[in-house]
Amino acid sequence: MAKVFIYPATSLILSDLVARFGHKPLGAALGIRERIQTAGLESPPLQITPEEPKRGLKYAAVEVPSGVRGRMAIYGPLIEEAEAAVIVTEADFAFGCMGCARTDELILFTLRQSGIPILELKYPTNEEEGIAFVATIKNFLKGLPNGGEA
């Protein structure tokens, strides 16, 4: 079983796919709602305190906005723990969503710098692409150590 960081971190579909192939998904485990009644699209499920942006200084300097550092305090340790990553870009909000574009840039950069196996692919726009999308993720996950259909 490998620890696989998923991006968008809130994608339940990606999280489910990773788990189905016998790996441990590392993400935010948040459901994207049809109606948004919270501060952000991916409002944190836990009580974030002003300490989190300070912990985030490990990943981003003090001149980086506090919201980025607060997010990195959560995602940074997960990236350190990850043994592989699946990155889906240009995803629909309903698939999974990250609220801050600057954090996204930093997360993706940190993942690419980490040297772990990474699968990067675009979000599908039709059924044909959708089938290929799932197949590509499946092959990637099966190729990871101890991967297999659950």
């Binding site: 952000g40 989190e52 942006p53």
Partner: protein, 411 residues
């Protein structure tokens, strides 16, 4: 009492750890913060219609929520816009929404860029102003003072008191703020003595400024109100411009206020307080270093040329250092005084006046409006004649006395 509903449009508040501070600030002034409920499917549609193509999803959500408020799909009494300090993308959205909402609705807006160090105390006055505008619209519409009333403004540097009778100022008092209650007592004693009245003659009292709650309790005030709405009211009243649009600038001892006013009620406003280099305190330090009284700094500055002294610092410490270096290099005191005035005016212009729509007349109030060089520098930057009404240094006290007359028996 029904809570005032403030719609929050923000990006990064939760992850910065300041959401609780926002809730606490609203709660302490009898307001509740809520997030306008919109459908996920509407977000991209709204952003396309608005035309600002940002990348961050939460900024898109802010835009969609602002449009839902303006379209009247969601009811609110005021709007709080908050984004992370130092985020350029967020600053663009914050700025455009701050403009868009008041231009297209009757909602009052306050905006703030926060860090993880932002506290409820920092946000309190801003939230209070939003609730005042929502709750006391009728009181804020008052244009004439009646009966005998007193206003006390407990500011960070000075405490002012004014006694008014039948729409006239009949007594004033002014003392440096040291011990808050003692300073207020002294100012009130002087104002009453000048008016030839006693406390028993006063029919209603209003308080404002940093010490408003403490002195309000002490004097049994009928009205305790933040300085944003009070000063706006006082400014347009004293300038004789109660109807129509105007802009009020108040450079205080600890923070600055820039308020876009319509018919005496603030529309948009900003309140800066991060850097002392743009405050009256810097001018006090300059006067001290030049060996003149603060009242002499303005006339001195009018005789000098600020451009002759290099000053390029936002910080009160390094700004003072620039002045010291200039004096050591042989600059005249006049030039240094002018440079200090220009520096403060420029910082207020760059940091705050960009956040409100400048509409003439521009009215400068507060103790610093008596510093001629500062008013001149502001006028040059704004390319307009700045109005300084009589009693401008007593603005908060006058506004309080005027509004307190709404509590005179029989009113």
């Amino acid at each position: 009492m029904k809570k005032v509903r403030i719609a929050q449009l923000s990006c990064g508040a939760e992850y910065s750890g300041v959401q609780k501070e926002i809730y606490d600030a609203a709660e302490s002034v009898g307001a509740e913060v809520f997030f306008p409920d919109i459908a996920l499917a509407d977000v991209e549609r709204a952003v396309k219609k608005f035309g600002l193509d940002v990348k961050s999803a939460d900024l898109k959500l802010m835009i969609a929520r602002a449009m839902a408020l303006v379209d009247g799909k969601i009811d609110a009494d005021g709007v709080f816009i908050g984004t992370c300090f130092r985020c350029a993308e967020a600053a663009i959205v914050r700025n455009e929404l701050r403009r868009y909402i008041p231009e297209n609705s009757k909602l009052s807006v306050v905006s703030y860029s926060f860090t993880e160090r932002t506290t409820a105390g920092t946000l309190l006055t801003r939230m209070e102003a939003l609730t005042t505008i929502a709750r006391r619209r009728a009181l804020l519409a008052r244009e004439e003072q009646t009966g005998i009333t007193m206003g006390v403004d407990s500011g960070s540097s000075t405490t002012k008191a004014v006694v008014m009778k039948d729409n006239q100022i009949v007594g004033t008092g002014w003392h440096p703020t040291t011990e808050v209650l003692a300073s207020a007592e002294n100012a009130v004693t002087d104002a009453l003595a000048m008016a030839g009245l006693t406390r028993e003659d006063i029919q209603a009292v209003g308080t404002t400024g940093y010490g408003r709650f403490l002195i309000g309790k002490h004097f049994g005030a009928d009205l305790v109100q933040e300085e944003l709405t009070v000063n706006s009211k006082g400014a347009v009243y004293l300038a004789g411009h109660q109807r129509g649009a105007s802009t009020v600038i108040d450079i205080g001892g600890m923070d600055n206020k820039a308020i876009s006013v319509i018919d005496g009620i603030p529309g948009t406003f900003t309140m800066g307080g991060i850097c002392a280099g743009a405050s009256g305190r810097f001018l006090e330090m300059t006067a001290k270093r030049l060996g003149v009284d603060i009242t002499e700094l303005g006339p001195l500055a009018m005789k000098g040329m600020g451009k002759n002294v290099p000053m390029n610092s936002y910080c009160i410490v390094f700004g003072t250092q620039s002045l010291v270096n200039a004096l050591a290099a042989g600059s005249s005191r006049e030039d240094v005084a002018a440079a200090a005035c220009h520096s403060v005016a420029e910082q207020v212009f760059e940091q705050q006046l960009q956040e409100v729509d400048i509409k003439e007349p521009v009215i400068m109030v507060g103790g610093t409006s008596l510093i001629e060089g500062l008013v001149h520098a502001m006028g040059e930057l704004l390319q307009t004649r700045v109005v300084v009404p009589p009693y401008s240094q007593y603005i908060g006290a006058v506004g309080s006395a005027l509004l307190a007359s709404g509590f005179v028996k029989g009113e």
